[in-house]
Amino acid sequence: MNLPPALAPGVTDPRTQTCSTAELGPLRLDCGVVMDRVTVAWRTYGSLNADKSNAVLVCHALTGDQYLADPHPVTGKPGWWHTLVGPGNLFDTERYFFICANVLGGCMGTTGPMEINPETGKPWGLSFPVITIGDMVNAQALLLDHLGIEQLFCVVGGSMGGMQVLEWAASHPRRVFAALPIATSYRHSAQNIAFHEVGRQAIMADPDWMGGDYLLHGTSPHRGLSVARMAAHITYLSEVALHRKFGRKLQNRTNVTYGFDADFQIESYLRHQGSTFVERFDANSYLYITRAMDYFDLAAENGGKLANAFKGTQTRFCLISFTSDWLFPTQESRAIVHALNAVAANVSFVEVESDKGHDAFLLDEPEFHRTLQGFLDGAAEQRGLG
């Protein structure tokens, strides 16, 4: 994505035309910086009930955004969880009020490195402070204050969204009635930090990155960002799923070409994933958000003992992992379950059999959806939501 640094007056920002925005703050970041005002861009589905008890906060993953269920304003593609959301659907908009906000550091309207720093009149670029999952959650908490919602019925999210769910439950326990962290971990593993570093280095190695100032120079590090996305995309799949979908099949040809064209379908697929991603995502946002995930370690934040993060919690938890997810393997969810057991928390946990890898949480997995539904129904009954 390469929007002009400052939109001309009177021109509506396409990224936020179909959602809400508000200036909130101040926000004290973990790095020590205090941001006086931050913009949060969010989208809601359904309506808030009279006693404001039916709000569900959906936390998006690394490259997700607030467009949960309606078309993405830049790409026109359906929302990332659109199959779940709707009247009478699993995420029933007649029953619950769904809120999905673009994360702090993101590039879809919430304050992030591509927005204008009010002090300089220029895009933040690398002068944007380094943010954490905790900062993202605190920005969302400001949004809840703004909306007048004291307690969320549920916080749900997969992958980095799941990290936010855990952070919500740990640092704002009284504001979370039920928590649904999916395909996630309480801390980013060495392997995952390693993959992120490959992605960041790919971006920074692109000469068009210009030390982070590409918006000022009118360039775009799309090659670096595209490589970052290609490498990351592999980690979201599984060997079995790749083999089933592509195998060694050739792309529109009957023989290999003895060259470096995309001979194989998998190469063509990854190149396509990379090139479509750069249309909608900002390279510096990718650096900042991956860093926030790397820094996440809920155990370290609590004296090295994960259970301390949840001491005395009254929140009902349901954790879900997938058998073929090697990015956030089941053992990570199990460690969270054990920590929750140690404080005698109310917790459910299912490892869903799927060969679709980490991305399974975004795909049609009937057993996963049945579990989501069952947990939400049970929690709604406890909360007195008819």
């Binding site: 009902r316 199990r334 404080v343 917790v347 459910s348 299912v350 049970g378």
Partner: protein, 204 residues
Amino acid sequence: MNPSQLRFDLRMIADMVAPKTRVLDVGCGEGELLKFLRETKKVDGRGIELSMSGVSGAVRQGLSVIQGDADTDLKDYPAQAFDYVILSQTLQATRNPREVLEQMLRIGRHAIVSLPNFGHWRVRLSLLAHGRMPVTSSLGFAWYDTPNIHLCTIDDFADLTEAIGAKIEKGIAIDSSGRTRAFTPPDWKANLFGENGLFLLGNK
């Protein structure tokens, strides 16, 4: 939920549980006992179950159940977290029954254990008369594919409770036609005619 809808052995376990207590059901399947206890005794129940279908079936009923097993998932709970920890027809399939039983009595004030009795006369007869590993209604597997790796008799189990310093508060022998008899071990009749044993244990 009507008591008659609940499986016979689960109903007997349910009878041992006092109302409004905290219960952990280890190997809870789809949670039928937990659901029954919640509805009839207002019990705050949790479950552990090995199979995905069992867990998701239980979660669908609004129960709090985690996927796991008795050997690995008991050690994390704090001491005395529950009033009852239930293990039905599973102890003989655990890798380390002694440790499992010790953990149950650490995290619970009581343990409720039911198990197939390897001292039952049919089992003895099968070995004595035919020289074959017994396959009976409560032990329905051939030796090479049985999950039951740590079988014991009612008396053996009573010895184990003694060894770990537990107290048998109630012992019930259930014969092959479902008749029940309360007993205090050692009890040769229970050990010979009980096809299954059911125990309520407490800490000494």
